[in-house]
């Protein structure tokens, strides 16, 4: 490959180009900078002693033998740090009377979930620390485990937090329209209970934290999604001034929400570094992480839908029990409420009511996991639409057509109060039906049913939307969230014409370095390889609100657009001066300022950058810098949507499910890099399918997590998953300058109901109406037996 000559840099449009990622080189060659690869000289290693009990009073803790072990620098119990450890933060008090129990990073008097830290050893190496843990004796006085959400709310239930006097964290209601009238006047009412099993996010990189005292302050490296939020929260919890803390998120190996947290270990390592004056390091083992990295989902959903005989939706009622776990962590209580606005999905209806009750249990707290509230909502509405279609004897796609917002009706304000800016549900659905071969598959299904084939075919439909680009600060404020939702970018034009882009959005596998380079290349007219993207270090990227909620491109990318516009604005003044023309007469294209309608020579942005750097001849009043910043706050959420169709074969003798085909047509607005977008969809599908078929965090009756290893918690492998058929339709978002809608969570949100819906659809002839997730062979088989027995019993009567 020959490089383009210096005089004609390649400035062809980058937006929409499937550019392989810049990040890959270090990841493919083992030169990655994971937190666990960082070890400053003199580092001491930390290991935590964790409670084997879900709920117990802590009696005497004897660490005397551990302190005498070789290589041990220090041992601390919860009591040792009680005065300085503070309480882990919850940034989302969803109601004024929400119960927010104190959450000490290390338990002092009582443990409330198995895995909670009660002591820690600091030693010369990880082995010495692990050995010393064995020598700590803790007296536990067992207390009752609280695991069942409904039992937890009953009168006289054992309390997770005795002081609170209730296991009810909050009750959050929402309603719009006359729900009672809608249900009273309806021809059909369908009511279902769905269970969102507890999931373990399981990013491939375990959590890891290194904290080093230096220059009168502290540098913390952490495998986190949120270096900026973490810095602020560490300062708030410990009282160490914010400007004395630097947080670095080096290469981070996946997060999916699990690293959107301020963890006990992060706070404690900061305190240990302060106490000992030495760098300290901790990396979780996988089984430790499964117990103590926050979990997701864990809800019981009671859903009722009311409709006319022709299928027109009248109303929707949702009553939710949401498992908070033992404490409220960073956004624990808010997660189910992110779903509150999404239950109506893409459908028009007259009335909607929603209530969420947050419930404490003696388990690891739940918090954001890919989709955070929205997968649960989408699951419920898409599953119950399938049930309603069955009730009405109508094709499930036709039922959706009769109720969805038409492409001519945007912007449309839903019954949940959100205004969807753009979308085209018809286009996405038509394309998906085509690619999937819907009609042919239905015919095959009919045939197999008629033939009594032992392997039945089922088809699942999911026409989802989601609120992304979290979020408009004003709306977060209305929801009592503790922070805003803006994002920051800055652009530095170097004298040589190369560009540094700094983003506050912190990547952990998404490909920001590539996509941001593409945006900057287009907006500044520079070659994409001339752009370097910096992120994930509060010293390099001073402002930001980090990465979650499919917000990075929509919000962070938009901030970059604005910063680039400011650079070009400043460059225009200088270019006009250099070309002896009026600014108004200049056009800027492909990185060149040219006097409109003339053959006069142009000034490239690189020439302007050099001239501004030299600053020998600046226009009157101009500053010698093109560098610019922008902070961008979106005017509204963005609303990606799509149609996902899944075909499964279910062996009615064994209960085994095989995904025969999966088609996803997503509308994520304008696409910067289709390669990255497709990858996000694939990965999202894998996690949604994981919930549908494989994954579940299970506790025994004592509250011990029995799926605490990868041998027990089934993450789908390459052999478990099918290939995917994906395509896109595009209706650009109008709420941000890129027109993008966000894609990080789409696949996960859409796929779970498509897969479970397909499993149930396969078993309809036997009377099956639901299979609880995950739809393991045993559960499918049991559902089939129960339905058959119910039917036989009915016939016998």
């Amino acid at each position: 490959m020959t490089a383009a000559p210096e005089s004609t840099p390649d400035t062809s449009p980058q937006t929409g180009r499937p550019l392989p990622r810049k990040e890959d080189a270090r990841l493919l060659t083992g030169r990655t900078r994971w937190t666990d690869n960082i070890e400053p000289p003199g580092t001491l290693h930390v290991a935590f002693l964790r409670s084997p009990m879900a709920h117990a009073r802590i009696g005497n803790v004897d660490a005397s033998r551990a302190r005498e072990m070789p290589g041990v620098a220090a041992v601390f119990t919860g009591a040792d740090v009680a005065d300085e450890q503070g309480s882990l933060p919850c940034a989302w008090p969803v109601t004024e009377d929400m119960v927010t129990p104190a959450h000490p990073p290390m338990a002092v008097d009582e443990v409330r979930y198995a895995g909670e830290a009660v002591a820690c050893v600091v030693a010369r190496d990880p082995e010495s620390a692990a050995d010393a843990l064995e020598e700590i004796d803790v007296d536990y006085e067992p207390l009752p485990a609280v695991l069942d959400l409904e039992e937890a709310l009953a009168d006289g239930a054992d309390a997770v937090h005795a002081d609170a006097g209730t296991n009810r964290a909050y009750v959050w209601p929402f309603s719009n329209g006359d729900v009672d009238a809608a249900f009273a006047g309806a021809d059909v009412v369908v009511t279902r209970r769905y269970r969102q099993q507890r999931l373990i996010p399981a990013a491939m990189e375990p959590r890891s934290v290194v904290c080093q005292p230096e220059e009168g302050g502290y540098t913390m490296w952490s495998a986190t999604q949120i270096p900026h939020v973490l810095r602020l929260m560490l300062a708030t919890v410990t009282g160490i001034p914010e400007h004395d803390i630097r947080v670095v998120a080096p290469d981070v190996g996946g997060g999916f929400g699990s690293k959107l947290q301020v963890t006990a270990e992060e706070v404690l390592l900061l305190l240990l570094a302060r106490r000992l004056g030495r760098p300290v390091k901790w990396t979780e083992s996988r089984s430790e992480g499964f117990q103590t990295t926050h979990h997701g989902r864990a809800q019981i959903q009671d859903v009722s839908v009311a409709a006319d005989a022709d299928g027109r939706l009248r109303g929707l009622k949702v009553d939710l029990l949401a498992d908070m776990g033992a404490y409220l962590m960073l956004v624990t209580p808010g997660v189910p409420l992110l779903g509150a606005f999404m239950y109506p999905g893409i459908y028009k209806m007259d009335a909607y009511s929603f209530t969420c009750t947050g419930v404490f249990t003696t388990t690891m707290p739940t918090d954001a996991y890919r989709g955070a509230g929205r997968p649960e909502a989408t699951y419920a509405i898409e599953r119950i639409m399938g049930e309603l279609a069955e009730e009405l004897g109508m094709d499930p796609v036709e039922l959706r057509r009769r109720n969805w917002i038409g492409s001519g009706e945007f912007p449309y304000t839903t019954v949940a109060g959100l205004t969807y800016d753009t979308g085209d549900y018809e286009a996405a659905t038509d394309r998906a039906l085509d690619l999937f071969g819907y009609r042919e598959l239905r015919a095959e299904q009919e045939r197999r049913r008629k033939d009594g084939d032992t392997v039945q075919l089922g088809i699942g439909v999911s026409t989802y939307t989601e609120m992304c680009g979290i979020a408009p600060s004003r709306m977060l404020g209305e929801l009592n969230y503790g922070a805003g939702g803006w994002e920051h970018a800055s652009v530095r034009m170097l004298p040589s014409g190369k560009v540094e882009v700094v983003t506050g959005s912190s990547a952990h596998g998404q490909g920001h370095e590539t996509a941001w380079s593409q945006i900057a290349a287009d907006r500044l007219g520079v070659p994409v390889e001339d752009v370097r993207v910096l992120h994930g270090d509060t010293r390099v990227s001073p402002r930001g609100l980090d990465t979650y909620g499919s917000r990075s491109l929509v919000v962070g990318g938009s901030a970059l657009v604005h910063a680039c516009e400011r650079v070009v604005g400043k460059a225009r003044v200088m270019a006009a001066h250099m070309l002896e023309a009026s600014e108004d007469d200049l056009e800027f294209e492909g990185g060149r300022f040219r006097v409109r309608g003339t053959e006069r020579p142009a000034a490239t942005i690189q020439e302007v950058a050099l001239a501004v750097f030299a600053a020998h001849d600046l226009p009157e009043g101009a500053e010698p810098s093109l560098d610019s910043d922008a902070a961008y706050d979106p005017s509204d959420f963005s609303y990606p949507h799509g149609t996902h169709l899944c075909a499964v074969e279910v062996d009615t003798e064994t209960g085994a499910v095989r995904i025969r085909g999966y088609t996803a047509v997503d509308d994520v607005g304008t696409v910067i890099n289709p390669l990255i977008v497709e990858g996000q969809v694939h990965g999202g599908l894998a996690q949604g399918i994981g919930q549908a078929l494989y994954e579940e965090a299970v506790h025994d009756a004592d509250g011990t997590l029995v799926t605490a290893t990868m041998a027990d918690y089934l993450l789908p492998s390459a052999a478990d998953l099918p290939g995917f058929t994906t395509d896109r339709t595009v209706t650009p978002s109008t709420t941000n300058p890129l027109g993008s809608k966000g894609v990080g969570e789409a696949g996960t949100i859409a796929s779970t109901p498509a897969v479970v819906g397909a499993v149930v659809d396969a078993l309809r002839p036997f009377g099956v109406r639901d299979v609880p997730m995950p739809c393991t062979p045993e559960r499918v088989w049991r559902a089939l037996q129960e339905a058959r027995q119910a039917r036989n019993g009915g016939e016998g009567r």
């Binding site: 493919l28 083992g30 690869n37 491939m204 990189e205 996946g254 996988r286 990858g679 894998a686 052999a719």
Partner: protein, 184 residues
């Protein structure tokens, strides 16, 4: 403590190690941190390396068991300044996102292709079953391995052809991507 000698990516290391130390931890203490640890039950495969040419999960091998062995890790995969065809294919096909599983995935895939240079999609899926990825949904990984297999077979054919015709090998064009390049 036992003395062991292992050759990692062509460099010999003589060390005393604790008998209980796992190979992956030994590698990482040697500074070979390109091989990460992903689990503690040998399920994830992130730590896969080649031991005397065969893939092993380096968390299931004690360092002392590797005494006298040759270990190849992802750090030594590129040679003569050029990426391995698997690395190139993973890049082109976007077969990695966070990249944490990638070192193990690459090593497992190279072992797979050694055993079966022309696998079907299903054989690739089965062959990589012991390596978990949480980001990609595997579709692009499978495609990349199939691409690399085709590329490696084609290169093999070219080499064989060259020998047959006794051509001057030095004239042959290279299809490999330079290290650190290939993006643009």
């Amino acid at each position: 403590m036992p003395d062991i000698r292992v050759t990692v990516d062509g460099v010999r290391y003589d060390d005393q190690v604790e008998a209980r130390r796992l190979l992956v931890h030994h590698l990482r203490r040697l500074g070979k941190v390109g091989t990460p640890v992903g689990c503690d039950t040998s399920n994830c495969g992130a730590c896969t390396v080649l031991m005397d040419g065969a893939s092993v999960k380096s968390c299931t091998v004690l360092a002392v068991q590797a005494d006298g062995s040759r270990i190849d890790t992802v750090e030594g995969m590129a040679s003569d300044g050029a990426w391995h065809p698997l690395q190139t294919a993973f890049h082109r096909r976007h077969a990695l996102q966070c990249g944490y599983c990638t070192p193990g995935m690459l090593m497992a895939a190279s072992d797979l292709l050694q055993d079966n240079p022309d696998p079907t999609e299903e054989e690739v899926r089965e062959g990589l079953e012991g390596n978990l990825c949480r980001c990609t949904g595997y579709a692009n990984i499978v495609a990349a391995v199939l691409d690399a297999a085709a590329e490696m077979r084609a290169a093999e054919m070219r080499t064989a052809g060259m020998h047959a015709e006794d051509l001057a090998a030095a004239e042959a064009p290279t299809e490999r991507t330079p290290v650190g390049g290939g993006a643009a």
